[in-house]
């Protein structure tokens, strides 16, 4: 049967995006809004002792200034998806971090609100803050087993002592901020006790439940609308404090309130990727078989939160090794609470592991791909379960052939092109296959068009198109006649768009609803006496090319099949609860908790996507300027729904890796515990001229043990191997092993 799943399909929302008609949250028209400007703290630790509003209130157009003194009891802090409690904002006088929301200026215009914001005087009782790992006053603790776990398999310390070859090294990754180009915006309006929130969100049901809980109102009274999201990368997944306060402001004014937070405020009112440190110890035989793997990580978080990413839950599972030990410590500092950012666990932890594997290969005088081949795991080394497809070495082999790895002279510093030292590096990529419970409604009309409703999120991933393709495929229609509604809590509940799970979650739910439609049409067509399909087995009928069709080709036009059941539309609502997910998953979803089934927490298989990433860098012999001239990623990430958008996602992930390895770092002022480069010219991300050849290979990987449609997800895996691949290539070019990111000219002088 021909299938649309896997056919290149231009995005159905493409026209809206290129004409400026795609409606992002702050684009939505609201009548006569007041404008908000956030007041944020200038200290990182201490208390607010008073405000002086005289000058600010004198600015014409100012309506009100809200602080903990006026509204502190009107909202509670949002619940975090991970890590327990978080910092507070306007609940009381406490300051937990620099840039914390401490007040909101409301005015008729943005210009007036901003001016008044700069005229507010705040008095503090400041204490000395601890900025990061080594600061006096930072508190270290071992992370408990709970959300995340440490592993102790075999006797890693003993095996290290007995190993023929050992490698020990320390690695570090910096603070990074997502910096989507869309700012953190919130618009709130009340009508008859019902609240509407327009806010870019990766989880509208989560935001709804959270804000309802914060304000103490039933979730049914809150509607969240987020039709287009201008980039998220994890930053718009959890509820942040701003939303409930803007709702409080709108209620007090009796007027819609619109907030467009500034770029620098975005660094402190939402989350970020915290800095990490790693110690890796590897033991191996002389012929390159791993005998011991120890990966210890340390991560920064805020004072009250225990948020951490524990990426050694992944690094422990990549290679066959009988003795494994992992541990994570967290360090509490006077900082905002970190959160998910593209491949949260893998990006830092795989940099460490895949750098160490490259170092071990060098020590063993083995090709780094060959070392990985000798340690390719047949089953999950932690659980012993089979993998739901593991094409890691196929990715290396096909990628290496295409990239020209065989031409690489293994000796570091040996390849040169004029003034440029050339280095080739590679690394493995891996990302867990996740899926969450999701509902969807499908309506099929007699004229052969359909509508799909699901409260999913298109954060640039092409989710609108994924939904259209899935429905078109199952209903026997063209994707262009499917109308898709998403990003609104009035639609059937959908989970958090994160963890590379959204395509699998949405597509499997939409397919389930389409199957109900097909089943109803088929039953009616076969049980009634009239019609060409009367008496057939309904299970064998398919919807193909706008017809209900039997295996022998006898077919009935869709319009006849639909009209038999209804003069209007045939509609089905399905809830898809993945096998292995808790039975109350839909209830959790409505309560705002993401009911995700993680690929490494399943009892049947270990579900992962795999990839091999290759990089060519050029380091200028004299200036040490570093350029990435070529990148290639070969991925086996399950069935691909839309190769066009998938290609863009992989490519974007790989460029994110380039960015993380060579450019991105949020610099901290250690004495003030303050982010210094909190703007887009000093927080470096790649521009067009930084990016050269990017090649993506998608290997077949069809394994329905992952989920019924065999979709593994690919939004994150593109970044995972890039940091190490670039560091390994820089080493190959120069002989210099850089173990702390980002790698900069000064590291190579």
């Amino acid at each position: 049967m021909p299938t649309l799943i896997g056919q290149p399909t231009p995005r159905i929302d493409g026209r809206a995006k290129v004409t400026g008609r795609a409606s992002y949250a702050s684009d939505e028209p609201v009548a006569n809004p007041a404008h908000a400007f956030l007041l944020t703290s200038f200290i990182a630790r201490g208390r607010i002792t008073g405000f002086d509003f005289a000058e600010a209130k004198a600015v014409p157009g100012v309506l009100d200034i809200l602080t903990h003194e006026s509204v502190g009891s009107e909202a509670k802090p949002p619940k975090q998806a991970s890590g327990g409690p978080t910092t507070t904002t306007m609940e009381d006088d406490q300051v937990w971090h620099d840039g914390q929301i401490i007040g909101i200026v409301l005015a008729d215009t943005y210009e007036a609100a901003r001016e008044a914001g700069f005229r507010v005087r705040v008095h503090y009782a400041a204490e000395t803050p601890a900025a990061s790992f080594d600061a006096a006053g930072a508190e270290r603790e071992r992370r408990d087993d709970g959300e995340h776990q440490d592993y102790a398999i075999g006797d890693a310390e003993g095996a290290l002592g007995a190993a023929e070859v050992t490698l020990q090294a320390a690695y570090a990754t910096p603070t990074q901020h997502h910096n989507p180009i869309e700012l953190f915006t919130t618009t709130c309006a009340w009508e008859n006790g019902n609240l509407t929130i327009w806010e870019p969100s990766q989880f509208v049901y989560g935001l709804r439940a959270n804000v309802a809980g914060q304000l103490g109102i039933p979730p049914e009274r809150v509607r969240v609308i987020s039709k287009f999201v201008g980039g998220a990368f994890g930053s718009k997944g959890g509820a942040t404090a701003r939303t409930a306060w803007i709702a409080v402001a709108a209620r007090r004014l009796g007027r819609p309130v619109k907030l467009v937070a500034t770029r620098d405020q975005g660094f402190t009112i939402a989350t970020y990727r915290a800095e990490t440190r790693h110690r890796i110890r590897l033991g191996a035989t002389r012929d390159g078989r791993l005998t011991a793997l120890v990966h210890e990580g340390t991560e920064v978080t805020s004072r009250p939160s225990r948020y951490n990413v524990s990426g050694n839950e992944t690094t422990a599972r990549l290679y066959a090794c009988p003795n494994i030990l992992t541990r994570v410590d967290i360090v509490h500092a006077d900082r905002n609470t970190p959160g998910f950012m593209r491949a949260p666990p893998e990006t830092p932890y795989m940099f460490a592991l895949e750098s160490a594997v490259d170092e071990l290969a060098e020590k063993l005088r083995l090709d780094p791909i060959e070392l990985r081949r000798r340690n390719d795991a047949k089953t999950d080394p932690v659980s012993g379960l089979p993998f739901a497809g593991r094409r890691l070495m196929a990715c290396f082999d096909e990628g290496a052939a295409r990239f020209g790895w065989a031409d690489r002279n293994p000796r570091a510093g040996s390849m040169r092109d004029g003034e440029w030292l050339v280095g080739l590096g590679c690394a493995s990529a891996v990302y867990e296959t996740n899926i969450a419970a999701c509902a969807a409604r499908v309506s099929l009309r007699p004229n052969g068009t359909a509508r799909v409703e699901v409260a999913g999120h298109d954060i640039g991933t092409g989710a609108y198109t994924v939904v259209a393709i899935t429905a078109a495929d199952r209903l026997g229609l063209d994707a262009s006649v499917i109308d898709v509604a998403m990003g609104d809590t009035t639609l059937p509940a959908a989970p958090l768009a994160a963890g590379s799970s959204h395509t699998a979650s949405l597509a499997n739910a939409v397919a389930a609803a389409c199957e109900m439609v097909r089943d109803r049409l088929a039953r009616a067509a076969t049980t009634r006496n009239a019609g060409p399909l009367a008496g057939r087995d309904p299970g064998t009928l398919r919807l193909v090319d706008s017809c209900l069709t039997a295996p022998d080709g006898v077919a009935e036009p869709l319009s006849d099949a639909v009209s038999r059941l209804s003069p209007g539309v045939v509609e089905a609502f399905a809830e898809n609860i993945p096998d292995g997910a808790p039975p109350d998953a839909m209830g959790k979803l409505h309560a705002g908790t993401n009911p995700i089934l993680r690929g490494y927490k399943r009892s049947d298989v270990a579900a992962y996507a795999f990839g091999a990433q290759f990089v060519e860098v050029r380091v200028h012999a004299r200036t040490r300027e570093i350029r990435v001239s070529r990148m290639l990623g070969a991925f086996a990430a399950g069935n691909i729904v839309n190769p066009i958008a998938a290609h863009s996602q992989y490519m974007g992930g790989m460029i994110w890796g380039l960015s993380a390895a060579l450019l991105e770092k949020t610099e901290l002022d250690d004495s003030a515990a303050r982010y210094v480069n909190d703007n887009l010219s000093e927080y470096h991300i790649p521009v067009c001229a930084d990016v050269r050849d990017v090649e993506v290979m998608m290997l077949p990987d069809d394994d329905d043990r992952a989920n019924p449609l065999g979709i593994k997800g690919l939004g994150e895996i593109g970044i995972v191997g890039m940091n190490a691949a670039i560091a390994n290539a820089v080493h190959h070019a120069t002989g210099r092993r850089i173990r702390e990111l980002p790698i900069r000219i000064e590291d190579l002088l």
Binding site: P10, R11, D13, G14, R15, A16, K17, V18, T19, G20, R21, A22, S23, Y24, S26, D27, P29, V59, P60, G61, T109, Y110, E111, A112, H178, N179, I181, E182, L183, F228, G230, G231, A232, F233, V260, T262, R263, I459, G460, T461, G462, I644, A645, S648, Q649, M651, G652, I655, W656, N679, L680, S681, I685, P686, V687, C688, A689, V691, D693, V694
Partner: protein, 161 residues
């Protein structure tokens, strides 16, 4: 100091008479006063290019332009094509090449890309990369943006020849 002033803007072939706060930027006027929300705010500091519009054909950062100081005909993304009509060749090229993901930087990229071609800076991929480097794309659609400019450039030159 809370004076209001009046400016007549020419935008997408129409005139808009605006009573406004003297501090308002062209970007905020487009978005908050004129309902032209296709032009995006990504930084408000002249650093990202999301707010790029054309004034008399030249690319201008609207977050860095005060309404009171605008002279000339402003073209925004909404001015390039009608509701259902054919797309401008640059819009079509972005669509054909999937030269976006979230789409938030896209209106600014398209306006910049049009100017990149009319300035005569679309001669080679390297030149396009250089002259499109004032528009950040966090989704990192850059290689496809370069392809889109290459696709649209000959069509645009054909139109004007």
């Amino acid at each position: 100091m809370h004076t209001t002033m009046q400016t007549i803007l020419r935008i997408n072939g129409r005139e808009a008479r605006l009573d406004h706060d003297p501090r308002i930027t062209l970007l905020d006027a487009l978005r908050e006063r004129l309902g032209l929300t296709g032009t995006k705010k990504g930084c408000d500091q002249g650093q990202c290019g999301a707010c790029t519009v054309l004034i008399d054909g030249r690319r201008v950062l609207s977050c860095f332009s005060l309404v009171a100081a605008v002279e000339g005909e402003v073209t925004t993304i909404e001015g390039l094509s009608g509701e259902d009509g054919p797309l401008h060749p640059m819009q079509q090229a972005f669509l054909d090449r999937d030269a976006y993901q979230c789409g938030y930087c896209t209106p600014g990229q398209i306006m910049s890309a049009i100017a990149c071609v009319t300035e005569g800076h679309a001669g080679s991929p390297d030149e396009i990369r250089e002259y499109m480097s004032g528009n950040l794309c966090r989704c990192a659609a850059y290689p496809k943006i370069v392809e889109a400019v290459q696709q649209a450039a000959p069509h645009m030159r054909g139109e004007t020849a």
